[in-house]
């Protein structure tokens, strides 16, 4: 019964990238005039692919088991693992597959009318489909080398979408930055995979998962090195500070490309860490580094985004910050939470980009909103205390106790800070205490939703992820302490500095943040020096921060 079910699931899963690949290849032979056809075909295919993925996920829920199906395998010399055509059936695969195929479907369908009348719509769909096929291949892959090839192919195909308007210097510059970063990340990934293969004599994710679970002693040097390379790869791929520039500047490509990139591709770095979690969870130092990178990015990008004045650039900075948060969770060993974050963020960001034309509607609405009032220190204390109590209270109801998982303490503080923010917003002129009480109820609901989803994801993914790493030793407590400090500081900065308009320090901070802390200009200059950017007409210049 289970074997049959798994067979059906694997067939469904295998269909997913193949279907999209087929349409992508078809697009490359169509003439540029056949736009309606390719648009219809692509939307239909990606819709079908989503149905396949969702069906596979449901069937797995009914009675599937984790399994790797490998129709073809080629052993590498020196017992260094194998290159295999391999499908890894497990909850992480199915979750990612459903997510990305859903986003792919929405983007594909959106592009039909949005890019209608574009001269190169056929070319757009060709590369969109090939990009999707690559990333879906990467997701289903049960073999690390196959994963790496899917990864590389995604980046190469995406490049064509980023320079969809090759006449735009800004688009070319951003794509070149990404080109450099991607090649470094890919090299690092390949070395990591080879190191893992040569040490564990397998490149199959599932085999490695079991081998690592059985391991008790510390990691050998080669695996330590591999884990550091994975950290590097993930950080580069998720546009972590200070190398976030390319992600911020891809607004030079059509909106659906941004949606796909921010919702479906940029999180590949976090996905990689989750896939490699059996190794990562045992490499404390690399994981801590990952958490630190994430934390730094949260602090930098989180504050930068507050000052941004254009909608899409703002959204891009939030992506960078959110990726940082995902890496932080991975670094703390909270993989199932990272997956929850990944899924939630993808859906949210896909919608945010595609609906970015609606931002104006908010300003068209009549001015009926009550004015914000500033809470007193006393109110501040009451609000924060309440937020912390709600968080702890609801967390306890869900059976989470920080003594067993100190990393959760950090997350508790983060949630508490968010609740404080929510409640502080409810101090509105003329709305009274009843309004604040409503906000308090709302915050309790949000908290409940948070912990429920946390529990649900933990339950769904428990079998495919290593157990949450117990934090031991003072180093880890330092890390947790830092996380708390950063979030409390962000809250305080956000609540205070914008009010001190005349203060020179506040002004300076604002200008630095508004300019993305100036980290991207040297990189831009370097890129321009490598490729001599052609001179252009004075009216077509476009650069981001």
């Amino acid at each position: 019964m289970t074997a049959n079910l798994n067979l059906i699931i694997s067939i469904l899963i295998a269909c997913v990238p193949i279907l999209i690949l087929g349409v992508g290849l078809l697009g490359s032979v169509l003439s540029p005039g056949q736009t309606r056809m390719i648009a219809g075909l692509s939307s239909a295919a990606s819709g079908l692919v989503f149905v396949c993925s969702a069906l596979a996920a449901i069937l797995y829920g009914v009675g599937g088991t984790p399994q790797t199906i490998t129709p073809y395998s080629y052993p590498l010399p020196g017992n260094a693992g194998e290159l295999a055509l391999s499908i890894y059936i497990n909850p992480v695969t199915l979750m990612m597959l459903s997510l990305v195929s859903f986003v792919g479907f929405v983007v594909s369908r959106f592009s039909k009318n949005y890019l209608g009348g574009e001269e190169n719509q056929v070319r757009f769909y060709t590369w969109l489909n090939l990009t999707l096929a690559s990333i879906l291949t990467m997701i289903v892959s049960g073999n690390m080398l196959m994963f790496a090839f899917g990864w590389i192919s995604t980046s190469l195909c995406l490049h064509h979408l980023l320079v969809f308007y090759p006449e735009r210097p800004g688009a070319v510059l951003a794509a070149r930055k990404k080109w450099i970063i991607s090649r470094v990340a890919e090299t690092s990934l390949l070395i990591a995979v080879l190191l893992i293969g040569s040490t564990l004599h397998s490149m199959q994710f599932e085999t490695v998962f079991h081998l690592m679970a059985a391991k008790s002693a510390g990691l050998p040097f080669s695996l330590q090195l591999a884990s550091w390379l994975i950290v590097l790869t993930a950080a580069l791929k998720t546009a972590q500070f200070p190398l976030q520039g390319w992600l911020i500047q891809v607004m030079e490509a059509p909106t659906p490309v941004s949606a796909l990139l921010h919702a479906g591709i940029v999180n590949a770095g976090a996905f990689l860490v989750v896939r490699m979690s059996p190794i990562m969870s045992q490499s404390i130092s690399a994981s801590s580094a990952l958490a630190m990178i994430g934390l730094l990015t949260i602090a930098a990008a989180g504050l930068v985004m507050l000052t941004q004045t254009s909608l899409k650039v703002y959204l891009a900075w939030t992506t960078t910050a959110q990726m940082g948060f995902m890496l932080l969770e991975c670094g703390l060993g909270l993989y199932s939470l990272a997956m929850l974050h990944l899924v939630g963020h993808s859906l949210y960001k896909a919608h945010a980009f595609l609906s970015s034309g609606s931002g104006v509607d908010v300003f068209r609405a009549p001015a009926v909103r009550p004015a914000q009032s500033t809470p007193t220190i006393g109110q501040w204390i009451v609000v924060s205390a309440f937020a912390v109590l709600v968080t702890i209270g609801i967390g306890t109801v869900f059976g989470l106790t920080p003594e067993h998982q100190p990393a959760l303490l950090a997350l508790g503080v983060i949630l508490g800070v968010a609740m404080t923010q929510l409640l502080l917003g409810s101090f509105k002129a003329g709305m009274g205490a009843a309004f604040i009480a409503r906000a308090a109820v709302l915050s309790a609901l949000v908290c409940t939703a948070y912990f429920s989803l946390h529990a649900a994801f933990h339950f769904m993914l428990a079998t495919s992820l290593p157990a949450v790493r117990l934090i031991s030793g003072p180093d880890q407590f330092v890390l947790v302490g830092l996380v708390m400090m950063v979030f409390v500081s962000i809250l305080l900065i956000q609540q205070s500095l914008p009010k001190w308009m005349g203060n020179p320090f506040s002004r300076k901070v604002h200008v630095y943040l508004y300019n993305g802390l100036y980290v991207d200009i040297p990189f831009s200059r370097l890129v321009s020096r490598i490729w001599r950017t052609p001179a252009h007409n004075p009216y077509t210049q476009a650069k981001g921060v």
């Binding site: 909608l311 974050h341 899924v343 609606s358 909103r369 929510l422 002004r507 300076k508 200059r525 321009s528």
Partner: protein, 823 residues
Amino acid sequence: MNTQDKEYDLNQKIELACQKVSPLWPLKNFVAVNPYFGLRHLPFGKAGEILRKLTGTGLFMPREYYLEQIRKGEISDQNLEKALSEMNLSRDLQKFRQQIKAVPEEKIKPVSLLSDILSELEKQDWSGFITERISHYCASYFDEGQALWKSPFAQKSLYSGWILFSRFDKSPWLMGLGKTTAWIDSLPDHPEDCIRWALEELHVPPAAVDHYLHRAILSISGWASWARYLGWQAELRKEQDDSLRSLLAIRVAWDAIVFKIKMSQELAIRWKSALEDYLPGAPLPEQKFEAVLHRALELGYQQRLTKSIRSPKASDDKETRPDLQAIFCIDVRSEIFRRALEQVVPTAETLGFAGFFGVLVEYLPFGANKAKNHLPILFNPSYRIREFPEGSSGEEVEKLLHKRRLRAGASDIWKTFKTSASSCFSFVESMGLLSAAKLVGNTMGWSRPVSHPAKKGLKENEFKRMSPVLGKLQEFSDDENGPETGIPESDRANVAEFILRNMGLTRNFSPLVLLVGHGSTTSNNPQATGLDCGACAGQTGEASARIASSLLNDPYTRKKLSEEKSITIPDDTFFLPALHDTTTDDVTLFDTSILPESRKEDLVRLENWLFQAAQVSRLERATLLGIKELSPEKISEDLIRRSRDWSEVRPEWGLAGNAAFIAAPRNRTTGVGLAGRTFLHNYTWRDDKDFKTLELIMSAPMIVANWINMQYYGSMVDNQLFGSGNKVLHNVVGGSIGVLEGNGGDLRTGLAMQSLHNGEEWIHEPIRLNVIIEAPKTPIDEIIQKHAVVRELIENEWLYLFNMDDDGRIHQRRSNGQWVEGD
């Protein structure tokens, strides 16, 4: 004495440069603006040459466009000959045809700013860098609600804020312009002094200053337009705003500073020779061939237009009472619908009048603390009208008010929770999954990404109860500073008379009179308000139509009208407000409860008529929308889809194609297919005793039509400078200020390519507005003499003016003031 003279002179020159910029309204009321309004004092041809010299693009399309029109038969030989002879050129067509193919279109390199020369010299785009720096600063300074952390300099002037900003701006230093900060720090305190300093440093000779400043402001023309808008608004409030001067100062300061920093002999020599191009004596780039071709294209349209309306129609017979009178906005999109309605109901009469229906009001939505203008931007509101739930007790109103604030406040908290750095991560983990439902709903067209702005904080049934109130509503005035709301009873007869006389509707009222405003329905479209009513400052015409109807139905007003103004509206006449959805062609009726029970059948009949007219109208529009092969039902479905589809970049064609403005009785044009390209204003000069209405038409609706016409014109001939590029790259900036294309660059003004072009061909045709007025020449001439703006637009040929006499003969008023009979 001498220096004082110079000072005075420079200030004037700065002012002149600033006046050349046209304002840009924010996206929340995206008003069509003539981008060449500041150049109206120049003849069309000269202005084109100057623009071409300064920016590389003049006022004509590329040659290839006209050749295509010749191939398509849009430009005939006859018109080419006529154009050639008008310009005193040889009428040898054979030779002309050879020349336009043999002599290639001249590509013009625009005159250079100093930064342009430096860019060439160093092969690095310094001009782009400067634009980017200024644009980046402006976006933050002017931001109206995108950033959670606002610019700390917004309370300073644009110029002094920039000096403070630049102290911390490390970008120039990182780009190798280390000394910039020090230079900026040492600049004078006032923008005028800064400009004087910069001009001296750059050695700009006094004679070259005008063109140089013009060129400088054009290089940042998007933000300049925004600054000009702020100045425009300030003037209305009798205040001053010197953002535009600041911006000009910032731009020329940059030029001077990079000159100082990058000083080299080569640069100095090149700059010196570049400055010569700015001198008034320097040759202007002529475009002889394009001028002929363009004129021939315009002549072709003029001929077709005048031919179609010249034959006098059946005489104006007002003895029979029409079954229905419907007054539409003059908007070109109404023309199609009016024709359809007349076809469906031959006993109906339609009229054209600006969609604010003559009520000069600002509108205060329910519970709002800020009113919105609902009238053409050339006017100031006389009254403030409050929106209010119909038939509610005081207590209910208070409750609803509280609810609306509560909901708006809640959505506010939610937005901050979602977007702020301290909470966005928890938001994603607890609520991000809900976006899946939104993605599905929006993709399928079941829901809008953001609920309709007007409905914010109200449920559908609550919103439906809202209507404008003519009365005062003193008890609910929660806005202490605002003026009293409502139209006082003592004014009503005057206002009503103003409306009716200007509409030309003072007798023979039909049993039902429809006042049809218009609005569009689109989703996820930053420039949506550009498709709404231009006469209502980028709002829909709903409120205006409802206010005017309610005034004209008011028994007291009618009594006074009859007693004092000798306009008698029969008791069985009812005015009904309506809204024409220009995307779907559906017409919604409002306030129908005013009709007595006995008249309900009339209502059913009316709805049926409107439905049929909509069908006819949709069929006509289907051709332009490229869906004419579909069945009528499918066409309706597709239009509804367009109005809801969040990915649709061409929901409707707006006012594309607009080319003429006709002020005459409707019977001059009844039954003539004008293809949705004309603004139709009802006007009967014999009813206009002292030509007051004519004066109003020529000084307001005609100007508005010119603005719309030129917005399309500019967006098409120079989309780079006066258009907003590609919609799929639009990036809304500053909350609702405008759009950037891609990451940054200058703010973009005007229309996107998707509003002009369907991907295969242009939908708009860039020709100047042809105004045809049925009235004697003398009063027209007098009005032209009286209004400088009107005179400049006509005599400098920014539009063509024709008059029509009683026999339908047409005469054109030439730029020299002579009237010439048309052929």
